[in-house]
């Protein structure tokens, strides 16, 4: 134990003098976590909190178009501006180019009369089916010639967002059309207008949609940019100890310390154990610091607060598993690298690559199928899945064991590889 204590003391002393390494291990991931979260959070707010500007140019003068505009206003997604004086389409496009709006809708002339004709036609068909002859079918020609509503959009709007706008507009159109048909049908049967109360009862649906984020423990915490970013960049930080640990091992190999240790009556595995204990403690400290920043500092910066999982013991064990894998990876790089430059270069590039294919930078669901196989080989992927199981799904340790197990297997393989490398290079 005395030898191990002395070795840990030596490793801590050397680490404390590696200012650049400490900078990489703590400051860089903290800056990354803050910057990326701030950027993602503003995007999140843009999509969720801000209304999209919409110009509406109504060439029609009838009731149906007014009804449609009211319905669009009710959607709540748009900051609606009605174009006065029925401008030409080219003028509307010009205004969009001047960033007055991201969207513009052009309602064609005679929209209301064509809509009424279509309603009369459908109502006629329906009554014919019931066996009541009506002359509604005679307006078929008019009904077929409703000009389309035109939606101009700024190219900056993503396809998925345009699709949701399109869906909302279609719902509004459907509502207007349904009302017209219903009113026509009712009038044809009763020769009186459809009462408002009945119209509301028929048109308005009373079935609510209850939106609930999925969580294992039933909590209703909505995931946000912080919940996604803090675990991801914590893992990235843990694996970035390769810069300090990898080059420390290379230094020992190059300056002959390794060789000298071999002439002493102590097994080199003590040195490896010491490095693992020392740097594992560092990775746990990294996690604690970054989580604390998420909980305490983020709200002060106007960012969402990090909600820690309820299973703190589980969080500790997942952090421990991730840290051990990160330390093993760094030792492996140190064992095989010939120079410090190699250790730093290969270490940094490999971590960025493993982070990219592991889902740290790009969500794993957005990856092509071919990458998903490679993703399973990235230890960072399993770390991320385990952390997300706790932070986003409010799971317990037992829920993420399925992620820890492959991580453990990868760690053991890396450890064996390092031992083989040391043996091959006559270092143990």
């Amino acid at each position: 134990m005395y030898k191990l204590r002395a070795t840990i003391k030596k490793d801590l002393r050397i680490l404390s003098r590696d200012k650049m390494g400490v900078l990489f291990m703590f400051v860089m991931p903290i800056i990354l976590a803050i910057v990326i979260t701030a950027i993602q959070n503003s995007t999140f707010e843009l999509v969720n909190d801000n209304k999209v500007s919409l110009l509406l140019n109504n060439h029609d003068t009838g009731e149906a178009s007014k009804e449609l505009i009211k319905s669009i206003e009710k959607i709540g997604m748009f900051n609606l501006t009605l174009v006065k004086g029925k401008q030409m389409d080219a003028q509307v496009i010009e205004r969009m180019n001047n960033k007055d709006a991201l969207l513009a809708i052009i309602i064609p002339a005679n929209f209301s009369s064509k809509m009424a004709a279509k309603a009369k036609n459908i109502a006629g068909k329906a009554l014919n089916n019931f066996g009541a002859p009506v002359d509604g079918v005679n307006v078929k020609a008019d009904a077929d010639s409703i000009e389309p509503i035109t939606l101009y959009y700024h190219p900056v709007l993503q396809e998925s967002f345009r699709a949701s706008i399109n869906g909302a507009l279609r719902s509004s159109l459907q509502l207007v059309e349904s009302k017209q048909i219903l009113q026509t049908l009712y009038f044809s049967l009763n020769e009186t207008a459809l009462p408002d109360s009945l119209e509301k009862d028929i048109i308005n649906t009373n079935v609510a949609i209850n939106q609930v984020p999925v969580s294992r423990d039933g909590t209703r915490v909505t995931p946000n940019a912080t919940q996604h970013n803090i675990p991801a960049w914590t893992i990235f930080a843990m694996f970035f100890i390769v810069i300090s640990l990898g080059s420390s091992i290379v230094r020992e190999k190059l300056n002959g310390s390794f060789m000298r240790l071999k002439t002493l009556p102590t097994n080199y595995l003590i040195a490896l154990l010491s490095k693992q204990i020392t740097y594992l403690s560092v990775t746990l400290l990294q996690a604690a610091v970054i989580f604390a920043i998420g909980v305490l500092l983020f709200p002060l910066l106007g960012l969402p607060k990090l909600n820690l999982p309820s299973d703190i013991a589980g969080l500790f064990i997942v952090s421990l598993a991730c840290g051990w894998c990160a330390v093993s990876f760094a030792i492996c790089i140190g064992v095989f690298a010939q120079t410090q430059e190699q250790a730093n270069g290969i270490g940094a590039v490999s971590i960025v690559l493993l982070a990219a294919i592991g889902g740290i930078m790009v969500p794993s669901f957005a990856m092509p199928a071919s990458f998903k196989i490679a993703m399973n080989l990235s230890p960072l992927h399993w770390c991320l899945e385990a952390f997300y199981g706790l932070f986003l799904e409010a799971g317990k340790l037992k829920d993420v064991l399925i992620n820890i197990l492959p991580l453990f297997v990868i760690t053991v393989v890396i450890q064996l590889l390092s031992l083989w490398g040391l043996k091959r290079k006559n270092l143990i």
Binding site: Y2, T7, I14
Partner: protein
């Protein structure tokens, strides 16, 4: 043989991937208490032989006994008996002399109290007391050499291997190191030493061996060798035995 610090019999060694043997059936005895110098041209096999004697390299056949212990079979026990001062500064330059000595003392199997006592003694003898808490990377070459030597002797070794321990130091430091090594020898430590500083070797060694192309070509006391070859100094003896042409060969990595 019982009085030998080192006894080498039929040693065979070649580096992995090399067909040529560095040593074939090499024999060498070094008596306890000797100040033994191992000399030879660059690439002759001095460092390789020293690495075989310290267990850093595994030999393919033959045996090496250190104070009667076969090093291939009793590595841990043998490692307690000797000290090694490599040619490179094989220490942690981020640490101070005291911190280095604390660590290497612990790895030599010493207890905390014994380490502290020995550190005080070594710092005093090697004139490092004033800089004991400063980081080694700020030291001059001579100071680093003395720290390198101190680490090699922290465990009071019975046999001390020194691979060019004074290379790159000034005259004062060389003088101090040689005097300290003589003092260690007077206290019973066997010294096994390699260097290209032949005048220094003349001053320190009482017995020398010359190695060339993996073979020991002479091995005797300095006085006897000088008399046999009618030379008045080690340098003349060396040149008469190895010739004047360049002797460098390709350096093989020791891993």
């Amino acid at each position: 043989m019982d009085n030998d610090a080192i006894s080498i019999r039929d040693l065979g060694f070649s580096y992995p991937g090399q067909s040529k043997n560095c040593f074939s059936n090499l024999n060498l005895d070094i008596a306890v208490g000797t100040r033994f110098g191992l000399f030879g041209p660059n690439g002759a096999g001095k460092t390789t032989l020293m690495h075989c004697m310290t267990g850093l390299l595994s030999y393919s056949h033959g045996s090496i006994r250190l104070l009667g212990n076969e090093i291939a079979h009793h590595k841990k026990a043998v490692n307690k008996l000797f000290g090694f001062v490599p040619q490179d500064f094989s220490l942690y330059q981020e640490l101070s002399p005291v911190q280095n000595l604390e660590f290497f003392g612990a790895w030599s199997g010493m207890r905390s109290g014994a380490i502290k006592k020995k550190i005080t003694e070594l710092l005093e003898v090697l004139d490092l007391t004033d800089v004991k808490d400063k980081q080694v990377h700020k030291f001059s070459g001579g100071m680093k050499r003395r720290v390198n030597l101190a680490i090699g002797v922290i465990n009071d070794p019975q046999v001390l291997f020194l691979d060019e321990p004074t290379v790159g130091v000034d005259i004062q430091t060389r003088h101090a190191i040689i005097n300290y090594l003589k003092q260690l020898n007077r206290n019973g430590t066997t010294l096994i030493y390699t260097s290209h500083q032949l005048s220094e070797a003349e001053e320190l060694c009482d017995k020398i061996a010359l190695i060339e192309d993996g073979k020991i070509i002479i091995n005797n006391s300095l006085e006897v060798l000088l008399a046999e070859h009618k030379e008045d100094g080690l340098e003349g003896l060396y040149v008469s035995l190895t010739g004047k042409q360049y002797k460098d060969i390709e350096i093989v990595s020791t891993g």
